[in-house]
Amino acid sequence: MTEPVLEMRGVTKRFRVSGENSLFGKNFAAVRDVSIQVMPGETFGIVGESGCGKTTLVRLLMCIDRPTEGEIRFQGRRIDNIKEANRRALRPWFQMVFQDSGSSLNPRKRIADILREPMLYHGICDAASVDARVDKLLVQVGLTPAMRDRYPHEFSGGQRQRICIARALSLNPDVVILDEPVSALDVSVQAQILNLLRDLQERLGLTYVFIGHGLGAVHYMSHRIAVMYMGRVVEMGPSDTLFDRPAHPYTKALLDAAPVADVSLRGRQRVQMAGELDAQAARDGCPLLPRCPYARKGCETQGLELLEVDGRLTACGRMLELNDGLREER
């Protein structure tokens, strides 16, 4: 069996929140007991609404924050407890593309300089060959070498995101973390960027961690998906399985929240979540309990452990049970 390229084992990250009622503030866990394995060459999608811990998870993966508990491994080696200097040496293997391409590029530097400097620092190429490599990167992301002397503000949002991708690729990374790379773009441009990313993955054998809140893009990109809710992974499995047969009510609600172009599906039965996510509420049972339309007795004490159900890991199998029930009735 192949080794996971990136692995989290029981990772929890707590922050101190200055509380109103306690002198020392209280601990707030932004990420709770998350275990994921990212296999080489795959795209691992992470979805969830805002406040679910996606950003913290990214910061942990990028070694910007250290986990409170648990361990993170990159190619089998622990990376959560290594020294800052070693961490810096490790960073080129991990690269990141951010959501807002507007602030991802230094407005005072030409594209060629933005791409050139990290490569020279890390010794990816020498001063003589760096220009050729810059041109090659630009072509690789669908731009032309003639654009190398322009400034970031002379490009459109989509073009800027291409430059960000080129910058991420310039250090020959193994893993690229895509933090909502298309959320800020036009729908037509979104598709172009997603196709470019898939194309590059195929050609360069990259591993992606794709973060998003819209299921459409995540489903299109990912081989496997983890759905996060309040810092926990509530369902994780192959992309199509989760899409066609969600087991967790929350996954179903996320799917139903996405608009569908098909008019005939307009009247379909949807799962809707009541209220908003209260990230600070701490409880022992299912984190979704106060919002879940299918809550029943016993939910207060279960729904934390991931169990293998129908080819995926899930904290709750309610949706599958309900579907089975419907089928029997018919």
Binding site: M62, I64, R88, A89, L90, R91, P92, F94, Q95, M96, F98, D100, S101, S103, S104, L105, N106, P107, R108, K109, I114, E117, P118, Y121, H122, Y151, H153, C164, R167, L171
Partner: protein
């Protein structure tokens, strides 16, 4: 390559007609100051024997009460005032930028200490601080430069700190961190160039203010000491009512030069701010 990098900046600067005019005027004034030994018709120190002369063909700005040529004295006074303004600005800008960078980038205890100190310096009445310092140290050109330099930095420090704080949140700095770039690269190649423009604009106003402060201090007798002329101690003569009303050639030109310098520098500073912003295509 180099010239093409600056061409758009120059083009944007040239759109400000007033600033271009002011820059030309400033250049002429600075050249006159630099070339003072060549163009001044008389020595600024030696009496010519003609006292209290109004402007004439011989002495285009007249002579003072001990017979020195006022035009020559103004040329030399401009040298002193510009030097004081420039060096004081350079000192305060360097101090302010360094403290602001450290404070904003490293944060934590360093930030608290530096900003606490900055607030302390800022909370002193400025002119009083300068006066007391001028009284403690022997008044003179170099002590004026140092005093103004060490008093003017808090504004720059705060400006730079604020800029660094907002730049730290941008994705391109985060991208540098994820690309494993070293701290010196992030500080000096990414953050510093993005703060240069506001600092430069601020520095121009500090330059103008320093010239005015030198004039104020010298006017009060705490600045550049006679017989060395400075624009401030030339105004000193206007303390007497008879000079103020009867002999305007002794103070009007010096005052006019101060106003011209301050106004021109500020206009140029404003145009620079727009010129440095590449988004103002």
């Amino acid at each position: 390559m180099k010239s093409s990098k600056y061409r758009p900046i120059i083009r944007r600067f040239c759109r400000h007609k007033m600033a271009v005019f002011c820059l030309a005027l400033l250049t002429v004034l600075i050249l006159m100051a630099l070339l003072a030994p060549v163009i001044s018709p008389y020595s600024p120190q030696k009496p010519t024997g003609q006292f209290n002369q109004p402007p004439s063909a011989q002495h285009i700005l007249g002579t003072d009460r001990i017979g020195r040529d006022m035009f020559s004295r103004i040329l030399y006074a401009m040298r002193v005032s510009l030097l004081v303004g420039f060096l004081a600005t350079a000192i305060s800008t360097v101090i302010g930028v360094l403290l602001g960078l450290v404070s904003g980038y490293f944060g934590g205890a360093a930030d608290k200490i530096i900003m606490g100190f900055t607030d302390m310096v800022m909370s002193f009445p400025y002119i009083l601080l300068v006066l007391v310092a001028a009284a403690i140290f022997r008044p003179g050109m170099w002590s004026i430069i140092l005093i103004l330099g060490f008093v003017d930095w808090p504004g720059v420090a705060r400006l730079v700190r604020g800029n660094v704080l907002s730049l730290k949140q941008t994705n391109f700095i985060k991208g540098d961190v994820t690309a494993g770039m070293p701290r010196r690269y992030i500080l000096f190649s990414e953050i510093l160039p993005n703060t240069i423009a506001p600092v430069l604009v601020y520095a121009t106003s500090v330059f103008a203010i320093s010239i005015l402060d030198e004039a104020a201090l010298s006017f009060l007798g705490m600045g550049v000491q006679p017989p060395t002329p400075s624009l401030g101690n030339l105004l000193n003569g206007a303390e007497s009512l008879s000079v103020l009303t009867g002999k305007p050639w002794l103070w009007l030109p010096a005052g006019a030069v101060i106003v011209l310098l301050a106004v021109c520098i500020n206009f140029v500073g404003d145009a620079l701010r727009d010129a440095f912003d590449p988004r103002n295509s």
